[in-house]
């Protein structure tokens, strides 16, 4: 595949990233280089081979349904850029 400015715009929207317009050409060329590099993998014949998703063979690593708390409300809110005594505060995400 080839990356063009439209694709970069879409990716930026999905990733909620913004960049200066003059950076766009550079991003397009970087992404194309990365993709060309990764496409090298297409030279390998993978027909009939299951994709490798997990690095371990284990299955059913589950826990029983027991509730317990390890952090407090104060701990949870501590790292938030903006908060009040109870809530995380974020820029309004819906127009009223």
């Amino acid at each position: 595949m080839t990356v063009n400015t439209t694709v970069v715009d879409e990716l930026a929207h999905l990733a909620r990233l913004s960049y200066k317009n003059e950076a766009k050409e550079e991003i397009v060329s970087d992404l194309n280089k990365i993709i060309a590099f990764v496409e090298k993998l297409n030279e390998i014949d993978t027909d009939g081979i299951e994709p490798l998703i997990y690095m371990v063979d284990e299955t059913n690593v589950v826990r029983p349904d027991i509730a317990h708390l390890e952090i407090s409300q104060g701990d949870g809110l501590k790292n938030a850029p903006k908060k009040d005594s109870d809530y995380f505060r974020v820029p309004k995400v819906i127009e009223q």
Binding site: L14, V62, E70, Y87, R89, V90, V93, I94
Partner: protein
């Protein structure tokens, strides 16, 4: 608008919030109603380096629902990441199932005006809920509460086989009944523990292709789903009739005026870029495990309904009311092990027992009487010892206050038993006839409806103890002889 020209096509996506103690992939409590941001963990908050661990209870509940709906249960389950950015989803992705839903196929059976229709299911998969954003508390900020983030959900997707708003209503009523019988979700749409999105389109009747579908959200009751579908049907038909084009979009339901409004247009289609979740190992659901879960299954409403109409010979109507909720159905089933007068048992459940609960806003499990006690009442009536009216209006209320009392003894002490002494019955009848000599003549002249007057008199004289059936017969005989 020629509505009959068009056919409505609806598919429903139902989110079922599971009644687990802890969250889907972390141990923080899943309970509803805690102080904001107190049921959290580093996993819920999406802190770097944290890893999810799957709650085994979620799989059990998913298999239960799958078995109840006749789904095929998948052996090898993977989890997937559904990527999107929103403030109430700290990780930036929802852990869900994409290509390997735990349940596929199956159906929900609905009944509408006596007609049975099976609505096919596409799939049921396991996922997690997002947190809650509040947009109307503050002028500039949205407030985020992450208590709900990570709470386990099952998403049940139907095929687009619903053809009316009433069918959608019946479908959701059945789903809610089922999850409550299974005790996997409290089914409370008002509080959001069961949520529904509707995919709605219309097409010219007989057309092969579906129309453009609109997704409607934010309907917080089954009734509102029905209203939203009714509104969308009219709106879409009028757009088509005026040569317009239906936008494929997401709309929100406004419960105040019963309309829908556009939520976001299709300008930027969402691309969730699903990929396998490498942090959770596959979940293997073996046939042995499925069998284990099958052994735990409670009786289901359809099976109970069939038993009530079949074995017990009850009407569809009675069986429908009795199976509406599991506690009532199980109480009734218990009652039928103490009496064989099933019809009377159903009448007691749907009459005095239901009224008692309704008047006091009680649930079945708070009902003070054992099923055996109701069976005692039925036996006393069937033996002709007490009239139904004395039993339901005097003895039953007394027993609800004194659940341990013996029904027969109490009735004797209070003189509620039916007087079977035909001598006194005869006295009352003669007394009643003597009081209305002119009415006797009118009765003999053909106004047979006056029997009610005489009967009323007998009941008054006997203070309600006369067996109405017997008294009626004896009264007719007596009048006939004059």
């Amino acid at each position: 608008m020629s509505v009959d020209l068009y056919e409505l096509v609806v598919g429903l996506e139902v989110h079922i919030q599971l009644l687990t103690k802890s969250k889907a992939y972390s141990a923080d409590p899943a309970e509803y109603g805690a102080l904001p941001n107190t049921n959290i963990s580093v996993i819920t908050l999406g802190h770097p380096g944290t890893l999810p661990r799957f709650n085994a209870q979620v799989a059990e509940y998913a298999v239960k629902l799958g078995l109840a709906c006749g789904c095929e249960i998948r052996r090898e389950n993977q989890f997937a990441r559904k990527n999107y950015f929103y403030a109430d989803l700290p990780k930036g992705y929802q852990i869900t199932q994409d290509k390997t839903p735990i349940c596929t196929g199956g159906k929900i059976r609905i009944k509408l005006d006596g007609v049975v229709k099976d609505i096919a299911l596409t799939r049921i998969h396991m996922e997690e809920d997002a947190g809650k954003s509040m947009h109307d508390q503050d002028a500039y900020d949205s407030l985020v509460d992450l208590n709900r983030a990570g709470v386990p959900l099952l998403e049940m997707v139907s095929e687009p086989e619903l053809r009316s708003a009433e069918e959608a209503y019946a479908y959701l009523t059945e789903v809610r009944k089922l999850v409550r019988y299974l005790e996997i979700c409290d089914g409370n749409m008002e509080e959001g523990s069961m949520r529904c999105d509707a995919n709605i389109s219309v097409r010219v009747r007989g057309a092969k292709e579906f129309g453009v579908k609109v997704e409607v959200k934010n309907m917080n009751s089954i009734r509102n789903v029905q209203r939203a579908i009714e509104f969308e049907t009219k709106r879409q038909i009028s757009v088509i009739e005026s040569q317009g084009i239906i936008d494929q979009e997401t709309r929100s339901f406004d419960a105040v005026n019963g309309t829908t409004f556009s939520l976001r247009s299709k300008e930027k289609a969402n691309d969730y870029r699903y990929f396998p979740e490498p942090d959770l190992t596959p979940l293997i659901v073996t046939p042995e495990y499925i069998e284990e879960v099958r052994q735990m299954m409670p009786p289901l409403p359809e099976a109970l309904h069939d038993r009530f109409t079949g074995e017990f010979g009850l009407s569809e109507y009675d069986a429908g009311i009795l199976t509406d909720s599991k506690p009532i159905a199980l109480y009734f089933a218990d009652l039928t092990s103490h009496t064989e007068n099933y019809k009377a048992a159903a009448n007691w459940m749907n009459g005095p027992v239901k009224s008692f609960l309704n008047e006091r806003a009680l649930e079945m499990h708070q009902f003070p009487l054992q099923a055996a006690k109701i069976a005692e009442l039925i036996a006393l009536i069937d033996a002709g010892k007490i009239s139904f009216s004395a039993a339901s209006q005097k003895l039953f209320p007394y027993l609800t206050e004194h659940p341990e009392a013996n029904a027969l003894e109490v009735s004797e002490t209070n003189n509620w038993l039916q007087n079977e002494d035909s001598a006194s019955m005869d006295e009352w009848i003669q007394e009643a006839i003597a009081r209305y000599p002119e009415k006797v003549l009118e009765y003999k002249g053909g106004k047979t409806g006056l029997i009610g007057l005489f009967m009323g008199e007998v009941m008054k004289l006997s203070q309600g103890k006369a067996d109405p059936k017997k008294a009626n017969q004896l009264m007719r005989d007596a009048l006939h002889k004059i």
